[in-house]
Symmetry: C2
Subunit: 328 residues, 2 copies
């Protein structure tokens, strides 16, 4: 019998295993036009933390007791649609479960790029689109710019590093610990900051003595403050995520916010769905980067549906290098 993770309770602060419950799901027969998909890879992403709260946001909250949603890649096992056939690998949003069913239109056949299927949950999927348009469209980063990216060992950040290098920028990435830092450097980063080793504002000053033109924010807090402290005139900040505050209602403390004025800094919040209609442009360019080996993807993989909450909770304790995935 297929199983699915549900939200058992809304977490107050950092979620725990008690907030999740694994339930059995009826495998209903397919209607015309529907497909049944065996999930092979599930995505867990920081933004899902927001969906655990019962607040209005850009994605609706998870309902208590209902299967949770999320990105997933699976294989079509049964089809009553002409558009998908058994064996097709598809991308869809019915993650957190081992089997997905629904109208064929809710499932997208993976683009024919030379990459493993799980890459479409990472550098060729939502995190990749986020990195690409956040860097190039929101922050308007261009050749010659010095770019600072936080959580540079994460799925989004590591893609930002590689796109920036491919486009002729200087890149400083932050990551927690020497091992992740080494990996970020291996992706081409010109400078690496270990945020666990001391003051980010001081480390960024050393890594970028002439300041930064672009900041790609996945963290908020001390990283954002460091970026403000070292912003060059007319610097552009793409504000993508603030994992610093997802579990914690504490206010963000910024010592250098007023620098925004004299340096005419622009901070622009964005969400990836605003750019999904430009996926063609994204695949065209990213496909060639993948083919030329300029866009590598590390994965941190948990095995088995049972481990999905572990994988998710690991996002908030720095447990992943590259994309965090669950393999079924």
């Amino acid at each position: 019998m297929p199983r699915a993770w549900t939200l058992a309770s809304r977490p107050n602060g950092t979620p725990t295993h008690a907030d999740f419950a694994l339930i059995d799901v009826d495998a209903a027969p397919l209607n015309d036009g529907e497909v049944r998909v065996a999930n092979r890879w599930l995505s867990v992403d920081p933004y899902m933390r927001g969906r655990m709260n019962d607040v209005k946001s850009y994605v609706p909250p998870f309902a208590i007791g209902a299967p949770m949603d999320g990105g997933a890649v699976g294989e079509v096992m049964e089809s009553r649609s002409d558009s998908l056939k058994v064996g097709d690998m598809v991308l869809h949003m019915q993650g957190w479960r081992d089997e997905a069913t629904g109208p064929a239109a809710a499932f997208t056949k993976l683009p024919a790029l030379d990459a493993p299927p799980q890459a479409f949950l990472g550098r060729l999927g939502m995190p990749g689109v986020t990195a690409y348009f956040g860097l190039l469209a929101v922050a308007e980063a261009k050749e010659g710019d010095t770019v600072f990216v936080s959580a540079a060992a994460g799925a989004v950040g590591s893609t930002v590093v590689q796109i920036a290098k491919a486009k002729g920028m200087t890149v400083i990435g932050s990551a927690g610990g020497a091992e992740k830092g080494e990996w970020v450097r291996s992706l081409g980063a010109d400078g690496v900051i270990d945020y666990k080793a001391g003051s980010v504002v001081r480390a960024l000053g050393e890594a970028a003595p002439n300041g930064i033109d672009v900041y790609f924010d996945n963290v908020g807090g001390d990283h954002l403050d460091a970026a403000l402290a070292h912003a060059r005139p007319r610097a552009r900040f793409a504000i993508c995520g603030m994992i610093d505050v997802y579990n914690d209602a504490k206010p963000t403390q910024l010592k250098y916010l007023a620098r925004l004025i004299g340096n005419r800094v622009r901070m622009q919040g964005f969400i990836v769905s605003d750019y999904m209609n430009r996926a063609g442009e994204f695949y065209a360019e990213m496909g060639s980067l993948v083919a030329s080996g300029k866009l590598r993807g590390e994965e941190t993989v948990f095995d088995g549906l049972d481990t999905a909450p572990d994988a998710f909770l690991g996002l908030f304790s720095g447990g992943n290098t590259g994309k965090m995935l669950v393999r079924l």
Copy 2:
């Protein structure tokens, strides 16, 4: 003998009278091309606080012991230049003193608009240019928008309120105390927040139940946080000043900063000098607003050069309604 205020010491925190010293200045004979001007009005402005610190910024720091600079309007008393004649009223940057001398090019004859000379230090001067371009160019405010402006009883804020109303926007202004609030309402504001009376975030929610499209920030801190809490999708914030932190190294605390992401808020810092080359556009439009009575200017006036530090210090304790000026 002419006198001038100098910076005696760099203040740590809120400046005091001991940080200023009044000195006698030699009245040197004029060289060819120079003029001597008797100052009639001196401007004191919040941005001057930044110049008292010895840090790199968009305007250089005041030198210890040298006459301080600042906006001023005066009358030409002696001229060795063809471009200015005795009796001309001029705008210039040699404030904080009773007499100014220098090349005629450093003095600008007041435009022929139907307004008193001191208006060119307020709604028709630097604060006016700041309000106009901050609202219309930086924040891209347009008819139908709901605009929140902090320090709405100040020189910049009160001009923002009136330009916004003249352009068909809904305006909420914050000010300290009932009396200032009444004045802001008399300028046309649709809603007024007394920031001394309680939580700004709650008051803004009541004044703008459907949220705000534009925030014009002169304050930072709790006002900025309230604007983040109530920002509509794609809201634009023009970050003009943060008087909240000018005297105080305490970090800004923001509870609602992450709202920037889901609502795709843009925060843009700016400084007025970037728009000085568009003064013609400004005078054309503001002149007609002044002529039609749609741009009123309140003034808080101190009399005599001796009072200049009092006027300046009053800016940080909410001592002014409208433009703070010193009359000589």
